[in-house]
């Protein structure tokens, strides 16, 4: 026993899975402590409008904080290239190419223009563009649009005369806050009040995705634990009874086991979930329902193992020593299948989490606004709204990664244990 435990701990596969799983578990406990607050709260715009990033209050940045001056080479280039939109770059290139096609202008082909190189692009623009230059292939509307673009590009550098005013409530007039804002002015982010860090942006409700993801992971782990416990307890009890007692008890148990085998668990799950009214479906309820539909597999394998164990001589000797049936089951059968049951339990946790995700994607998962699950997050971002169209990868990608990590780590632990308990599988 001790040596088996030791070889489990030494098993690379088991330990890798174990470390990943425990890390996820610890994160779900620690993260809410260091970053408290309601994960379900809607803190921003809906429809995935907040990309991942750190958000700084514009007002607080301007208001009464120390400014510092840094001279960073290329700062202007970075600033401009950040402000120049993708479609503007395309349009500049379009004008330049059309301009270059005219006979009286030499050179300037499409290959020479690199729209990623902001400085070079703007350099070309200011070198060639003027509203007096007539480019033949353009429509009048386009010509006007380019004139407006030119004005806007000029304003990119209109930073020297920036002044910040603030409304004085007593006089009703605007007092000057800063007479001059230079492009070299910086402030320390930690001096700014109201910074919001959204490493994973917000979702369709405008909630912090990371906070919600942590909550959802905890809830899903809970669902897996409850579903796995229910399924394993039912499967173990029925398997032990059917396998050890045999006879009519076994016949009845096998009848129900076969019945549940013929009807696929997931179909049954859908039917039960559909049958339940919206009000009753909390996360735990769904977990119990998942557990109630997934014990068949455990029952069958426990039963067949018990059937081969009950004729062993150590069981016979235990009978001859006058032990009662419950005592024999607990002391002479259970320890022999314990490692197997633990392994089945681990797999049941994993499949419970996946079953909840599947159910939720069908809209039959937990229906509650007080908590989130991994399945519900996928459902809301992929099925019920349009994270794909918004390009809001942050709303579903991390969820999928967490589901995969949990499932991967549990299966790795299972394989590691399998190799210890069934050495012939070791390769």
């Amino acid at each position: 026993m001790k040596s088996q435990l030791r070889s489990i701990v030494r098993s690379g596969k088991f330990m890798t899975g174990f470390v990943i799983f425990v890390s996820i578990l610890l994160l779900t406990i620690i993260y809410p402590l260091i970053n408290p607050g309601d994960p379900m709260a809607r803190i921003g715009y809906d429809s995935f409008r907040t990309r991942p990033g750190t958000y700084v209050s514009l007002y607080d940045t301007l208001d009464g904080v120390n400014t510092f001056t840094f001279r960073i080479p290329g700062a202007n280039d970075i600033r401009i290239s950040n402000k120049l939109r993708e479609d503007d770059r395309e349009r500049i290139k379009y004008w330049l190419v059309e301009y270059g096609k005219q006979e009286e202008v030499a050179g300037l082909t499409e290959e020479e223009i690199d729209i990623e190189d902001t400085v070079a692009l703007l350099g070309l623009w200011w070198e060639f563009y003027s509203d007096e230059v007539f480019v033949r292939n353009l429509t009048n509307a386009e010509r006007n649009a380019f004139m407006r673009l030119d004005v806007r590009l000029d304003r990119l550098f209109d930073i020297d005369d920036l002044q910040v005013y603030t409304l004085n409530p007593e006089t009703g007039e605007h007092d000057i806050l800063f007479t001059e804002v230079s492009t070299d002015d910086y402030i320390n982010v930690s001096d700014v009040a109201n910074i919001i860090r959204l490493p994973l942006g917000t979702d369709n409700f405008g909630s912090d995705v990371l906070k919600k993801l942590v909550l959802a992971t905890a809830t899903s782990l809970w669902i897996g634990l409850v579903a796995g416990t229910v399924a394993t307890l039912i499967g173990l009890t029925l398997g032990l009874l059917g396998g050890y007692v045999g006879g009519i008890v076994d016949d009845i148990i096998m009848f129900f086991t076969n019945l549940f085998t013929v009807i696929p668990g997931f179909v049954l799950l859908i039917l039960i979930s559909y049958g339940m009214s919206q009000m009753e479906r909390g996360a735990t309820t769904v977990a119990v329902v998942i557990g109630l539909t997934s014990w068949v597999w455990t029952t069958r394998s426990v039963r067949s193992q018990v059937m081969s164990l009950r004729n062993r001589d150590h069981v016979n000797l235990s009978k001859l020593s006058g032990h009662s049936m419950p005592k024999i089951i607990i002391k002479d059968i259970l320890p022999y299948i314990a490692s197997y049951v633990v392994m089945a339990f681990i797999l049941q946790i994993s499949s419970g989490i996946l079953a909840e995700a599947g159910l939720s994607m069908l809209g039959l998962g937990p229906s509650t606004t007080s908590t989130a699950t991994l399945g519900m997050m996928l459902d809301w971002s992929i099925m019920k709204s349009t994270a794909f169209i918004h390009g809001a990868w942050w709303a579903y990608y991390p969820v999928i990664v967490v589901i995969l990590l949990i499932s991967f780590s549990l299966n790795l632990m299972n394989t590691g244990m399998d190799q210890v308990f069934n050495p012939q599988l070791r390769d």
Partner: protein
């Protein structure tokens, strides 16, 4: 000639065991009759697969009897309830063939001996007395209790395990002991010791031993009565001398031919049984 003045202890009529059904049916024990008398040492001889183990599992009440009737102490055996079974097992006990699978690998071996004390109604005895009893049982089979206590079965050798099984019988003191090839799975050196201990225990308690073996020679030296089993049937039985010196069934003759050491059976007399030398010379 010898059995009428003694008490009939265990008997069976038309005892049959069929495993499985349909095309997978195995007739393990086929319509077997037997009469075992108290105090006797009976051998059941037959090659592997002849149904010996199945027969003694039925005698123990560990397997149901498909057909036929087993009587215990002259009355039809009744082990319907758990209490009756427990009562029955106070009188009939067994040593199994494979010591390695006879123990629960998760329990310390002390529990095996403690169970026996409890079974004999010693549950409420003070701990010291229990330890004294276990110590006595261990020393009967030449084991040191202090070396055995708190150990797990896998820490013992096959011979030690089987000796502990005899210590178990020593504590239980049943009327009937069923020994299912108790020496076939252990090393040759331990065999003679095991057999000696069994016989010593029998001399002390006067219990009836049903000794299962596939070894005709061993059966002859040990037993008063020999039953020969072939493919689930009892093909011949009688006193050891009758069966060995004057075999009737072809199968018995064949079994006797397979015994290498009997050149001159008349030379061996029954009283050599008490001599520890014979087993060694014979079994090794």
């Amino acid at each position: 000639m010898n059995s009428h003045d003694r008490q009939l202890c265990l008997s069976g009529k038309g005892v049959t065991k069929i495993f499985g059904f349909g095309s997978k049916k195995t007739l393990a024990v086929d319509n077997v009759d037997f009469e075992f008398y108290s105090g006797d040492l009976i051998s059941i001889v037959g090659e592997s697969g002849s149904g010996k183990t199945t027969l003694i599992k039925m005698l123990l009440g560990l397997t149901s009897v498909t057909e036929g009737e087993i009587s215990f102490m002259g009355k039809k055996r009744d082990i319907g309830s758990r209490r009756k079974k427990k009562e029955y097992w106070k009188g009939i006990q067994a040593i199994f063939q494979d010591p390695y699978s006879s123990y629960n690998i998760f329990s310390k071996i002390d529990s095996v001996l403690l169970d026996c004390i409890n079974m004999r109604g010693g549950r409420l005895l003070p701990r010291k007395t229990k330890i004294e009893m276990m110590r006595e049982a261990c020393s009967f089979v030449n084991l040191k209790y202090d070396e055995m206590t708190n150990k797990y079965p896998f820490e013992l050798s096959g011979g030690q395990m089987q000796r502990l099984m005899i210590a178990r019988i020593f504590l239980l003191k049943p009327k009937i002991l069923l020994a299912d090839e108790p020496t076939s799975m252990i090393d040759a050196c331990s065999r003679a010791t095991i057999l000696d201990m069994l016989l010593k225990l029998r001399d002390e308690t006067g219990m009836m031993i049903i000794f299962i073996t596939h070894d005709m020679g061993l059966a002859y030296y040990l037993s008063d009565t020999v039953y020969i089993m072939e493919k689930g049937k009892i093909v011949e039985f009688g006193s050891a001398d009758e069966v060995v010196l004057n075999p009737k069934a072809d199968y018995t003759k064949q079994l006797l031919n397979d015994v290498p050491k009997i050149h001159d059976p008349w030379e061996f007399s029954k009283n050599r049984r008490k001599d520890a030398q014979w087993t060694e010379q014979f079994v090794v």
